[in-house]
Point group: D2
Chain length 255, copies 4
């Protein structure tokens, strides 16, 4: 049974809005408005245990999932939502062994997700011109032990992509159509390109460009996740929802 | 560059509605209403090529993705949709090395998806009482080379789950609440249970049971995918959509 | 109690997919695959009664609502959906006494809805260049007794709108932005313009034009209606839905 | 041209979030964080004019629509949303001359909407046991000149509905199924019953009861309104939306 170590990440969970992702080594005592939690005392215990704060409030001590980790990156900058990443992974078939390109590292949320999925046999190549973003991303990836499957490059992918024969590519830039020829060159035949398009206009312009460049199965989707408040005799959808984050456009390289 | 072999699966793609998943070895000549395609002649060519039928119709010869493969299973029986599987993989953090339990093999669509994701280091254990379903699933999995990461069991999971310390479990049965105690026993602490609930009544009853059994972070979602018809100056969402397949309920084992 | 007359429209209702809107005078015997219904025999009976066909199949004999009537128009040409008309009526505050302009009569579905709502004190002025459409619309409106509140004009509204001081205007044309100055002139100050935009490009272009012309509260909405299949212990949303018909853009004239 | 009077309601509109519904007679000077607006000075001017605050901020002076008025009621208590009211009016065919029953007056938002629609020839009968709600509703209705078409009754509709031959009925109570027999008695044959159901369980229970009592065309819908942020070259759906307010169940009385 896996036990908590000094440098394990733990998800301290009270409810959907009150949760913290910490390591005992960094945060021996977690101060919350529900009292203080002694994280050091959790070392050696199994994940999934229930702990008490100094104010006798119960919290769950959980092993973070990929999604918990990725959403944590969101504290620093805007990230691609898990719902959109999930569909990209599925639709591109990204898994252990995949070699994946990314343009627009940002805070590394997609990079981390891909790294997690392609390990141990694959690799992620992520380009970003902005050195600040790459620093944030590197720290995030190192903290969660994911840098071993990632190469970060402080380059402009518009000036060329150095890799070849890639299985999939994600473009998260304001002008994704500018990158289509380079991505096409870098992909293996039949490889999948995906791009994040916050606006309909971007999706429209990108679609035209991908079709012009001979991509097949070009399509654009929007993913909506509704929460259902399931309670005995009182079940209803949640009143509010995130209605739009981005469109995702997909297509496969042909030759 | 990966080339097509006698026993490679190829996706012959004309448009969203006209596509075929075949192997040259099984289908030397593919007969369609757009003419005949000589699949044997494709052997040795790279994926991503364009081919012509005897009626001079162009089709793309693509390497199938996980999603292409999974949707193929749907021809024989109802399957869990890729949109729902994508969210289950992301939310459970299923990847190479994960050990995953499944109750309700069905035609093996979820089994195949999990096998693809957990390979080469993990494993999927899938239970189904119905020997016909398991035969269909076994043939599907073998055909796509995924049986190496799967153990199929012709057992009723309600009578006990033989595995322990599992990372994730998917329950796709009409009465998922009946399985909660056994799944709890089989999961590693902090492991994630997911369940497919076509109706809100199932989600409601399951939620109550999971909370009673001490599962944490219990929540239910519904995933909606809208297609955007992106065309220059004429962009609009698709007129029709699959509005509901199922709810998915998640929760993590605590101890 | 209102009874069925020779020339009353009756909705013969079996289920959501099998329903007919007829008059005894036109259709003394209604032939269906469920047998023949003697409509003449219904004269003198109250609405809401249950009748039998010659094959002993039960059908409900209902008084048609506005929505039943409007959807009937759809048999001949594309109509604005009731869900969109409902929001236009509410948002524009169309009711008895309102004077409403319409550009693009089509088959008269919106015209009929507005006529029904503005009677007995208001009036609808509907322009359409296409004499065939106006003939269809006139017949539809006359059949349902709604022409008394309507003036149909075979004119191009781009060349001028003859009415003034109107309370609301609906534009259902491919290039609604071309009509904004004329509509502005025809509306009473603070009057509401609404326009049907199937694509986002139309909504975008129209929004710019309306803002340029000084319209206030300019906004665009999309209305989605989901059906819930409510059955004891098996309640779920419908599997398919109409996901997009059009965007509707609104704005109020300022001076 | 309609001009503003001392006792006219005016909508002072800056943007979607900053708007006020006032009368010069009650609010000679409107104090806002954008400066003070002299409402008395607006008397005699036409609606649709632009005015300035003491801080030189421009606001539009608009004539309120039905929807502006109804949403104003929401300040005091929860109201049925305009999107849901719109669909009820359309689906029930409520218009001038309709005689409408309501159980659960609340703050009078639905009552006001129906009154506005049935005037001058129809009437609304609204029952509520709670005298506080009826006082609030009466004041709201009087303020907007709608009481002439409304009778408020401080009665429990479960003990009987005094009206007969009604065209439509709206039930907004926690246990709408309890009222089905009385509503059936009060409706004209073929008359439409509508009910507000926040939860799926209520819709389910009500549907069963309505079918048992012989209602036809029983169906339940959920209305979703998405805003489109239409801006030149940057058009996208709004990021957040009201995802659920209630289900609405409809059915027609048969005999």
């Amino acid at each position: 049974m896996e036990t908590i170590k000094e440098d394990s990440f733990i998800l301290v969970y009270r409810d959907r809005r009150k949760k913290w992702l910490v390591r005992p080594v960094d945060t021996p005592k977690l101060h919350t408005h529900l009292g203080i939690l002694d994280c050091t005392a959790l070392v050696g215990k199994p994940f999934g245990t229930v702990a008490s704060t100094t104010m006798n409030d119960s919290v769950y001590i959980l092993k973070p999932t990929l999604e918990d980790i990725v959403m944590k990156f969101a504290r620093r900058t805007q990230v691609i939502y898990p719902k959109d990443l999930a569909m990209i992974i599925m639709h591109c078939g990204i898994h252990s062994g995949s070699r994946v390109f990314e343009a627009g590292t940002g805070s590394g949320a997609a990079t981390a997700t891909f790294a997690y999925m392609v390990a141990p046999e694959g690799h992620v190549y992520s380009y970003d011109m902005n050195p600040e973003f790459q620093d944030v991303a590197r720290k995030n990836l190192e903290k969660f032990g994911l840098m071993g499957s990632v190469t970060l490059k402080g380059k402009d992918a518009k000036e060329g992509i150095e890799e070849e024969g890639l299985d999939a590519a994600l473009v998260d830039m304001g002008d994704p159509w500018e990158l289509v020829p380079n991505v096409k060159k870098a992909l293996a035949p039949s490889g999948m390109m995906a791009a994040i398009c916050p606006t309909m206009n971007q999706a429209e312009k990108l679609t035209e460009k991908m079709k012009d460049e001979g991509f097949a199965t070009v399509e654009t989707i929007e993913v909506l996740v509704r929460n259902l408040e399931a309670r005995l005799g009182m079940t209803r959808p949640s009143q509010f929802m995130v209605a739009h984050t981005c469109y995702v456009t997909f297509g496969r390289k042909t030759i």
